[in-house]
């Protein structure tokens, strides 16, 4: 039975960030990985002249979805049911977990295979299954690394982004044998060899699995179709081989029409893995006689989504398609890694989504949650890369105002100092700082066609910074000045 560490107990962001910043291996791993993916994404996106039109369409479709959510959910439910599936509704994590545990017990098994799923991370389903005596085997390579390492995920797309190849080899050598087929005796740290070890380790689990649990990237209300995008084929294994498939899906992951997929099947792969298309996309509508699982259960999850929907500014966070592009461009994320955010949703999107899912729109939240809207320099790079145009800086500022209202502005004075430490790389060097400042002047000239701001020149991280600075004129006001201005303003209000 694998162990299931929890994000519960993560200290507020400044403290968690300090710990992360003190780990040079973590910082090196993150810097390398995020630099790679940033470059690749920029290339994949530059290939499409109509990228901005796709983003505008994506944002509008998601807004339409949220606006019509009750009718669309009912339509999805009808479509899934008509095609032989069963739809369940869950108000919160506990209810969703109870539904899933009940279904697995009904199937009479004590293990399940899992496709990487943010929703099941969020509700800590694996721990709930373990409590019921059910082993949940993660099958995505990065999830497997996290699970075997008894670790917490640190990135939406690549949960083991904080691990390098030597660490992965050590985890495989040490842990695989405890959970099933051991790693080959002469395992090297070549990613090819490590992927092969995972293939062999998981194959026996795929072949004997009776129940699989997945999330969903999208569901189409019009047709009742549910969809999972992936790369490795572990998703196909889980979605095809077992007798019973249980999909846990947030109520916001809907699209109104089949046609709408034409937008999201283009936005998501380029934004997340920086590919024209991910290797595998599976779509299914209910049950197909003679092909794949003959029982399909769809669990529709609220768990704070309606608490997010309630806020006219904050609800745009529910457009998120979990691509993780905002993590990869975030100068704060790059330094602290994902675990400092204390939630399966790290980075800029996590900083606006987690507090809302945890009820900040309804009333005061705990100190860790309240610290999250401060885990940003408001540089704006996240908005620029967001495929559904979530104005993350806008929501961050909006949520900071709520925190100030609820806790008083002095409660978070220390966030500022930690952010400055995280940003020290830039600010410590007069040359780098000079480049950043100069970028302010470049900004005007970099505004391209249609008023969209184009990429600034420069290497890696610096370019991400410059890009942000070009984009977000508000960020030319220093964080310190901004803090005092808005903090005092709210304090008096």
């Amino acid at each position: 039975m694998p162990a299931h560490p929890s994000f519960a107990g993560t200290p507020p962001f400044p403290e968690a960030a300090r710990l992360a910043l003190a780990d040079p291996q973590l910082r090196a791993n993150l810097a390398r990985a995020t630099a790679t993916i940033r470059t690749k994404r920029a290339r994949a996106v530059a290939e499409r002249d109509d990228w901005e039109a796709l983003r505008l369409a994506g944002a509008a479709i998601k807004d339409e979805t949220l606006r019509d959510l009750p009718a669309l959910l009912a339509q999805l439910e009808a479509g899934v049911t008509a095609a032989g599936g069963v739809v369940h509704w869950a108000r919160d994590a506990a209810e969703a977990n109870a539904i899933v545990v009940g279904l697995v017990r009904e199937a009479g098994v004590d293990e399940v295979v899992k496709v990487k799923s943010m929703a099941t991370q969020e509700i800590e389903l694996n721990a709930a299954l373990a409590e019921a005596g059910i082993a949940a085997w993660e099958t995505d390579l990065a999830e497997l690394i996290v699970q075997l390492g008894e670790d917490l995920p640190s990135h939406i797309l690549v949960p083991a982004i904080h691990r390098n190849r030597r660490e992965v080899r050590a985890i495989f050598e040490r842990e695989m044998g405890r959970m099933g087929r051991p790693a080959p005796a002469d395992l090297s740290d070549d990613p090819r060899a490590l992927a092969e070890a995972a293939r062999l380790h998981l194959r026996e689990k795929f072949l004997r699995a009776k129940v699989a649990i997945s999330g969903a990237n999208f569901a189409v209300a019009e047709t009742g179709t549910v969809m999972v995008v992936e790369s490795e084929g572990n998703g196909r294994m889980c979605l095809t081989l077992p007798d019973v498939l249980i999909t846990v899906m947030g109520i916001e992951k809907l699209l109104p029409t089949w046609r709408d997929l034409e937008v999201f099947l283009q936005l998501l792969p380029r934004s997340s893995t920086a590919e024209r298309m991910n290797p595998y996309t599976s779509m299914w509508t209910g049950v197909t006689p003679g092909d794949g699982p003959q029982a399909f259960h769809l669990v529709l999850l609220d768990n704070g989504r309606t608490d997010t929907l309630v806020d006219p500014v904050g609800r745009q966070a529910l457009r998120c398609i979990k691509c993780s592009a905002c993590l990869n461009v975030c100068p704060v994320y790059e330094r602290t890694g994902g675990r400092a955010y204390g939630s399966p949703y790290p980075g800029p999107i996590g900083a606006i989504l987690t507090p809302q899912l945890r009820g900040i729109n309804r009333g005061p939240v705990d100190a860790q949650t309240a610290s999250l809207p401060y885990a940003s320099s408001l540089c704006g790079a996240c908005f620029e890369v967001c495929p559904v145009r979530i104005d993350i800086p806008e929501v961050l500022v909006h949520l900071r105002a709520k925190v100030v209202e609820q806790h008083g502005w002095r409660a978070h004075a220390s966030e500022e100092s930690v952010l400055m430490a995280a940003m020290g790389w830039t600010f410590r060097s007069p040359r780098r700082l000079g480049l950043v400042e100069r970028a302010g002047g470049l900004g005007g000239r970099l505004i391209g066609r249609g008023g969209h701001i184009r990429r600034a020149p420069g290497p890696g991280l610096l370019r991400a910074w410059l890009r942000g600075r070009d984009l977000e004129t508000p960020s030319r006001e220093s964080f310190r000045r901004w803090w005092h201005r808005t903090g005092r303003h709210e304090d008096r209000a």
């Binding site: 039109a53 490590l194 572990n234 095809t240 283009q266 197909t288 092909d291 309606t306």
Partner: protein, 211 residues
């Protein structure tokens, strides 16, 4: 469970009590390739970008190309869905055992197969994608999943330019698998490795219209 359903729907309605304004979805993105782009040529290049192997052939030579791929792979047992025309395998050596899926193969048997041959429902040039939808020439989804090598025959007239064009030709009620290259992962240091759980080798034969 009805309870939870009503509660969630009520919560949504209450959350939307500000009645956000409806706005039309702008669809100003491209739905077709530029008119001077050769879709077949683009498809071939894009599939090759994923490190899949692409073969171009005339219909008259298809059986020869199929045979040569299977021979190169050293295939001894080939899964052949019911809808694959016999003539595609007319030149494949008798040493390659053809295994049908009727009665349905069980998982361990399928796992022991060397390769599978299918066609596709539609192929997308821009993204180098083939789409399977479970028709008889493709069979159950698992047939193209467990064998380690997948040979996909793509008739040139099944190739469309773009994702929007492909969606108009697909039936949402059929289970679909969109395949863009062999299985891959970038989970270790974001270095791409081809070949994890799905078929590690993907060959695509594009069959040009005769004449």
């Amino acid at each position: 469970m009805t309870d939870a359903r009503e509660v969630v729907l009520d919560r949504i309605r209450a959350a939307l009590s500000d009645r956000p304004a409806a706005r039309p979805v702008p669809r100003d993105y491209a739905t077709a390739l530029p008119s001077d782009t050769d879709a077949v040529d683009l498809f071939a290049r894009r599939v090759a970008d994923y490190r899949a192997t692409v073969h171009l052939t005339a219909a008259a030579d298809l059986a020869r190309v199929v045979a040569s791929v299977l021979t190169d792979w050293g295939v001894r047992r080939l899964v052949v869905p019911a809808g694959i025309p016999d003539r595609w395998l007319a030149e494949t050596p008798a040493a390659v055992a053809r295994v049908g899926d009727d009665p349905a193969l069980d998982k361990p048997d399928l796992d022991a197969m060397d390769a599978v041959i299918t066609d596709c429902a539609v192929a997308i040039a821009e993204t180098g994608t083939i789409v399977l939808d479970g028709r008889p020439s493709q069979g159950r989804r698992v047939l193209s999943l467990l064998p380690d090598r997948h040979l996909c025959v793509v008739a040139a007239d099944r190739i469309v330019g773009t994702v929007p064009e492909a969606l108009t030709q697909l039936d949402p009620r059929r289970p679909q698998t969109w395949i863009s290259g062999p299985s891959a992962t970038s989970d270790i240091e974001l270095e791409r490795v081809e070949g994890v759980h799905g078929p590690r080798t993907l060959d695509v034969i594009i069959v040009r219209a005769d004449g």
